[in-house]
């Protein structure tokens, strides 16, 4: 089966090329500025374009490319732009979408996908005849492949939406999706100042600090790209240390892939303990210094 893949995130685009190569030829649709960074991941062919990556213009170019290349599947990275693009494309060509998949496989000629459902409480495994897929970050490890795929250029149609201003977000050098140890804080941390108190522990473990949705979005004690959860980053570190996180299902869906989970919470009935390998019940401000001391011993 032949797949057209696209994501405005280079990381996800590389993952899509790796994953969908399992099913056959992969055409990568990519902004011309990113061709050089992505061609090393070995797509069968490349279609490049120039211009702002707005969802409606992208849906148009994906339709043209898929018609020309007779692609049977279109895989789009699940980002703000990717979801809107997929929806517009589906409405435009009258095709179904299987959204937010975390896994896809060919099971005896049937395409079987997995995705979270009911806010992350369950995992749906479905057989689908959808043509379009939106794909959660982390579906595969990108791998470099030798070769020089042919590159074709297509024009990008005008968008019905104009971008007036781009407002950069505070970029951080730490990428929690790539960290092997994450110290994650929840509402139980109490204040922004509390984060500084747990930083020495994160440093001792050579880890990065992340947080739950309230900490990152509601109180903004941490920046948005540090949010672990269904609506944030989905992480799979070796160690996930959850401090003052109650363990709402929204959060669990983002850290379920962690290898070892340690939870500290003062409420012994907190749901996080159901998802932990080790749990310590008590005040995190008393436990963290003791953990640090014992780690250094």
């Amino acid at each position: 089966m032949k797949t057209l893949v696209y994501s405005d995130s280079q990381d996800i685009a590389a993952q899509l090329v790796a994953k969908f190569s399992q099913f056959g030829e992969v055409t990568l649709l990519v902004s011309s500025g990113n061709v050089d960074k992505l061609k090393k991941y070995g797509p069968t062919s490349i279609i490049s374009f120039e211009g702002p990556e707005n969802p409606d213009a992208l849906a148009n170019i994906a339709r043209t490319a898929a018609e020309k290349g007779q692609h049977e599947m279109i895989a789009i990275g699940s980002t703000t732009v990717g979801r809107d693009m997929a929806g517009i494309l589906a409405g435009m060509i009258g095709a179904d979408v299987m959204a937010e998949i975390v896994d896809i496989r060919n099971d005896g000629g049937k395409i079987v996908t997995r995705r979270f459902f009911l806010g992350g409480k369950t995992v749906l495994e479905e057989e689908t005849t959808s043509k379009i897929f939106t794909v959660s970050p982390g579906i595969a490890e990108p791998a470099e492949k030798a070769g020089s795929p042919p590159i074709e250029h297509l024009g990008l149609a005008a968008s019905s939406v104009s971008v007036i201003e781009v407002i950069p977000k505070m970029a951080s050098s730490e990428d929690i999706e790539k960290a092997s140890v994450i110290v994650s804080v929840g509402r139980g941390i109490g204040s922004k100042e509390g984060i500084e108190k747990i930083r020495p522990l994160a440093e001792a473990l050579n880890g990065v600090i992340a947080g739950s949705r309230p900490v990152c979005l509601d109180y903004q004690w941490l920046s948005e790209e540090k949010q672990v959860g269904l609506s944030g980053k989905k992480v799979r570190p070796k160690v996930y240390l959850a401090l003052g996180i109650s363990g709402q299902i929204q959060h669990i869906a983002g850290m379920r892939g962690s290898k070892m989970v340690v939870a500290v919470n003062k409420d012994k009935s907190a749901p996080i303990f159901e998802e932990a390998d080790y749990g310590l019940v008590g005040d995190l401000y008393q436990i963290v210094p003791k953990l640090l001391e014992a780690l250094k011993a």
Binding site: R83, D84, L118, V123, I167, K169, Y278, L280
Partner: protein, 247 residues
């Protein structure tokens, strides 16, 4: 200029009450009451605030079950002026949902269509784009703020690595993030008045399914669950495991 504002409202099972069956892992969805879906509550608040700021009328459309009237009454209490409930489609193919909604929207005046970006339960994020292309109007997606001015809308679009101020002509579809506002808790008088307001109920044709569900289960937790109520006892054990894991 008064605006014709349409807000799309969804029902969802109360996720707090959903428990997987301990032996099968299957969720007890059918026995859980339906409530106002989180993101569409934020969309309703955004729609009512647009009306309060610029003038106009808000029409709520809910594709739901026979109990959707209850959710619509809540929307009335928040400031929605008219309500349409469409029943008959219980499937979960976003393209059918979008088509039924788009057909209804086409039949009524609309300058702005407001909805949530990704519902809290099924979480596909497909409805905004689908409705925008089915109506043939621009989509201003993932809005953190909305402004309207003569025939156009401006929103702050939240993206992964940056935000963008984007603009389009009206009519437009605007999807909102959960952080756009804090939905109001309507006063008692408004709730009482809302109960007497008429709701139009219509029936949609059920569409056929595009997928076969193989399973819908809570993932099995294979964690060790060694929980120490006395941290002093637990710390040495935890530190040993931590040292092992990061070696």
């Amino acid at each position: 200029m008064p605006y014709q504002i349409v807000v799309l409202i969804k029902q969802m099972p109360d996720l707090e009450l959903i428990k997987p069956d301990p032996s099968t892992g299957e969720p007890n969805v059918k026995s859980v009451p339906l409530r106002f879906e989180t993101l569409s509550k934020h969309a309703t608040e955004a729609a009512v605030r647009l009306k309060e700021k610029y003038g106009g009328k808000v029409t709520g459309i809910c594709l739901g079950t026979e109990t959707a009237g209850q959710v619509m009454k809540e929307a009335f209490a928040m400031g929605v002026d008219e309500g349409i409930v469409i029943t008959g489609y219980q499937g979960s193919n976003p393209r059918y949902t979008a088509r039924i909604l788009a057909e209804k929207i086409k039949s009524i005046p609309h300058d702005v269509v407001v909805l949530g970006n990704q519902s809290a339960d099924s979480y596909t994020g497909m409805i905004p784009g689908m409705i925008s292309s089915m109506l043939g109007v621009p989509l201003l997606g993932n809005a953190l703020s909305i402004e309207l001015s003569d025939g156009s809308a401006q929103v702050l679009r939240v993206m992964e690595d940056r935000n963008e101020k984007i603009q389009s002509k009206l009519p437009a579809v605007i999807s909102v993030t959960q952080e756009i506002n804090e939905p109001r808790l309507p006063p008692v008088m408004q709730i009482l008045a809302a109960g007497r307001k008429p709701i139009k109920t219509e029936k949609a044709e059920p569409g056929k399914s595009y997928t076969a569900i193989r399973s819908n289960k809570a993932p099995k937790s294979e964690r060790k669950k060694q929980i120490f109520e006395d941290p002093v006892k637990g710390i040495p054990e935890v530190v040993k495991a931590l040292k092992e894991a990061i070696r």
